[in-house]
């Protein structure tokens, strides 16, 4: 199928229902279908949007193109949950159905205001010459999940920003509303974060850019997310084209963060004594993360587990990508960012199996022989050991997702190069992260069919990978020159 521009932007109403039902059946039958992650019922999923708490439910929407594994005409698909783990699919929330979003209801955010949920999002509207006009739009959702769009844009493109002006995050800060928006400067053609202020969510005042680094962030910044943890501002963002000397990365685009000491949005100042820009995830597929400060006092993060401009094996099945599990964000006393699973994830566990040390044969220790395709593995590896933890190894011992560990030098390498169907090899098949030397490593590993999420040392680092195992890849094995000392627990995980 040739995905011409015309086809990608064909109105939803012009697609046949039979096509959609067949696509849904195809996704539902996929061997790579996820059990406890949000995936599309058909077509392509990308950025999480409108992650919020309202009317007794957690809400998250995702960017959706239901008719194929391509970036076509986008809508928002609505999911809600009581516990951040079990999600209900409420179907399309925002349709691309009026002048200002006719080429896509693009990414945005949501915030409870009064007894309604205020939604701010980017309307993609192309003119007859296919020139993009980005509009920051507003909508209100009521308790019956009905969404009413505001008829006119809240913010139109200012002179100092190019057509790349999107992903508004609406927050309330010091009794004012602020919109934090990804932008490309019209003169410098570099990536910026734009700030607007509003008292009434009707009139928005342009405050210019947020200065948070002296480095050049490349040609565009997408998906800015500003949250406050222990009163410290944490800015999460996706720079495109950033020099790898600023922060090393191997993915096509990274997802970064910086921790500040304070922020003055009116003055456009994000003050950070440590100006280091860090990777949010040390793996392969985390992008467009969205975080927010929830009414329960906690800070939650959810990510698109997928990257732009890369083909994935399920494209052939006409669906693509998923969302990450929700993670809670914390700061340690030393100011390090911690990501950890939310509490209700533990409710999915069953058939817990304590992993007891066993003597290996031929440098192989078998931890679990039949994992099934959904599990959690908590594993502590003692200090000063080297080896390979094979996840989803097959019987022939020639396919597995490998985690190469060295607790002497303090390094972990996630290698998906021989883990089933390979893809995105042009960006490398290994990712390495460094941890403390001569120290044990604590791993909390979640596998769900075709995604692996690893929390390292209580969430100080995370490594995420989509991978596409062949049938028969079902065991967990440690391979090493000598028996490795470990302790841990394995659980199977229910579907949501």
């Amino acid at each position: 199928m040739e995905w011409s521009r015309e086809l990608r932007y064909k109105p939803y109403a012009d697609w046949g229902a039979k096509t959609l039902l067949d696509l849904q059946a195809q996704a539902a039958c996929s061997d790579y279908k996820l059990g406890y992650h949000i995936m599309p019922t058909s077509g392509l999923l990308n950025d999480p949007n409108g992650f919020s708490y309202y009317n007794g439910y957690w809400h998250v929407f995702y960017q959706s193109y239901p008719f194929g594994p391509v970036h076509g005409l986008k809508s928002w698909n609505h999911m809600r949950s009581k516990n951040l783990v079990h999600w209900e699919n409420l179907g399309i929330g925002l349709n691309p159905d009026f002048e200002y979003d006719k080429n896509g209801a693009y990414s945005g955010s949501a915030l409870q205001v009064g007894n309604k949920l205020f939604i701010m999002y980017n309307g993609n509207s192309r003119d007859e010459n296919w020139v993009r006009h980005p509009y920051q739009l507003g909508a209100w959702m009521d308790e019956n999940n009905r969404i009413e769009k505001l008829p006119e844009p809240l913010i139109t493109q200012p002179d100092h920003i190019t057509e790349h002006f999107r992903d508004p995050q609406i927050i309330k800060h010091k009794d004012e509303y602020y919109a934090i928006i990804g932008a490309q400067d019209a003169t410098q053609k570099d990536g910026r974060i734009s700030i607007y202020r509003s008292k009434d969510l009707k009139n928005f005042e342009d405050l210019g850019y947020l200065h948070f680094t002296d480095e050049n962030m490349g040609y565009m910044i997408e998906c800015p997310s500003l949250v406050f943890i222990n009163d410290k501002p944490v800015l999460i963002f996706c720079p495109q084209g950033m020099d790898k000397n600023i922060c090393s990365y191997d993915n096509i685009y990274p997802n970064n963060y910086i921790i500040g000491d304070s922020v003055n949005l009116d003055a456009g100042r994000f003050e950070a004594s440590d100006k280091t820009i860090k990777n949010l995830d040390e793996g392969f597929d985390v992008y467009a993360s969205q975080a927010f400060n929830a009414p329960d006092g906690k800070t939650y993060l959810i990510s698109w587990t997928g990257l732009p401009e890369i083909e994935y094996p399920t494209d052939k099945e006409n669906w693509a990508h998923c969302l990450s599990q929700v993670k809670e964000l914390l700061l340690t006393d030393k100011g390090e960012l911690i990501q950890r699973p939310v509490k209700a994830m533990a409710d999915l566990r069953y058939d817990g199996l304590p992993l007891t040390q066993e003597q290996g044969m031929d440098h192989i220790q078998n931890l679990v022989s039949d994992t099934g395709s959904q599990y959690e593995l908590k594993l502590t590896l003692d200090a000063n050991q080297k080896g390979i933890l094979h996840l989803e190894k097959n019987g022939l011992n020639n396919q597995s997702l490998k985690l190469v560990f060295d607790t002497e030098e303090g390094s972990l390498t996630l290698d998906r190069g021989n883990s089933g169907k390979v893809f995105a090899t042009e960006f490398g098949t290994k990712r390495t992260t460094l941890v403390a030397k001569n120290a044990p490593i604590e791993l909390d590993i979640f596998v769900d069919n075709s995604i692996c999420e690893i929390f390292i040392n209580g969430g100080k680092k995370t490594m995420t990978a989509r991978f596409f195992p062949e049938k028969g890849q079902k065991s967990i094995v440690i391979e090493s020159q000598s028996d490795v000392k470990y302790r841990g627990t394995f659980w199977k995980m229910q579907s949501i």
Copy 2:
């Protein structure tokens, strides 16, 4: 919307995808959406089909019309499960897409044969004069859930049967295959069960009718299901137009069963020393039940929880009906049929609450004050007491689903007349069943948003009701002239 014949039989390919997405969103947002029962993602669900075990999964399909709450062009929608409780939706299984089923892939059954699943179903095909030609069709499903139809009918309409010839059940019995088919006799115009025999699932021999009663079963028998429990044949069926003196019923059509001593299918004889025809369910909404003998040695039943020719409140939301929970069928030593929840239903329980006897005030005992909308209630009421168990009672005390009990006379009356939105009132709003006099009653009650399923005295009787509570109906209360003695447990129930 006027549901003309033309509209109801419009091919799926001619419906717009936007319409379907909107319908799916509407069903997903419904206040009456089920949490742990199979419901349609949009449109109408009716008979369970192809209930079977194959390739490590339980399978059930349902009759589906995705575009509205009407009996339009039907397909089979495929669900599968590892435990008969958590179901995965695999989308359309059988499409009405060739000459012999072009007006609907109607009901049928499935049976593992070799390493595939054999499907036998009724193809509804109308000619240019809108005369129905019923074909009994075959198809094979492989391990990838791909279904291939046989190009020619297995059985065409014989001279002695009218166009009402449908719902084939394929079973293996004494090394032969038999198809048990609902039929209307061409001469008498009365309801019959037709039998065909086959050695190879290609050639089917007409054995005439199965004689199981001397009574007249009305003008048609739908959905025959023959199972064997402790080697005794149990025949489950849906007679239409049966005289109420044969077996009293209040629903538009009943769903009945008869227990035999032996059956000789070749001779068309179902021998029963007790010829009583009984109701499978003493409530409101059970029809088109399908049972089968599973490879685990047990017998399972699943029902359409809905009835033909009746409007339900969710019709306005463009979706209708659900399937019952799966029930295990057993026979007691005395030969009584028992229906009981399957084992994995207990895995859905959480927040268990022992119900301790409390003194009532003003003849009111409050058992649970905030039930939520999904729960199980096990309750034993002592002998010789009278009162009303109010399920889903509201704060104003003027709405509830009532179970009126008299453990002196041994009667239970389920009254949905004032339980929220009322419907089907032309068939009465109460159903009564008799149990042992001067004896305690054991109840196991499952409520899931808009369905209530009651198992009485270990499943000797069941009473099922769809009901549509208003917001705020959330408490369980016993009302009586004096304090009622009870003991029990309440659990909230997870969604599947």
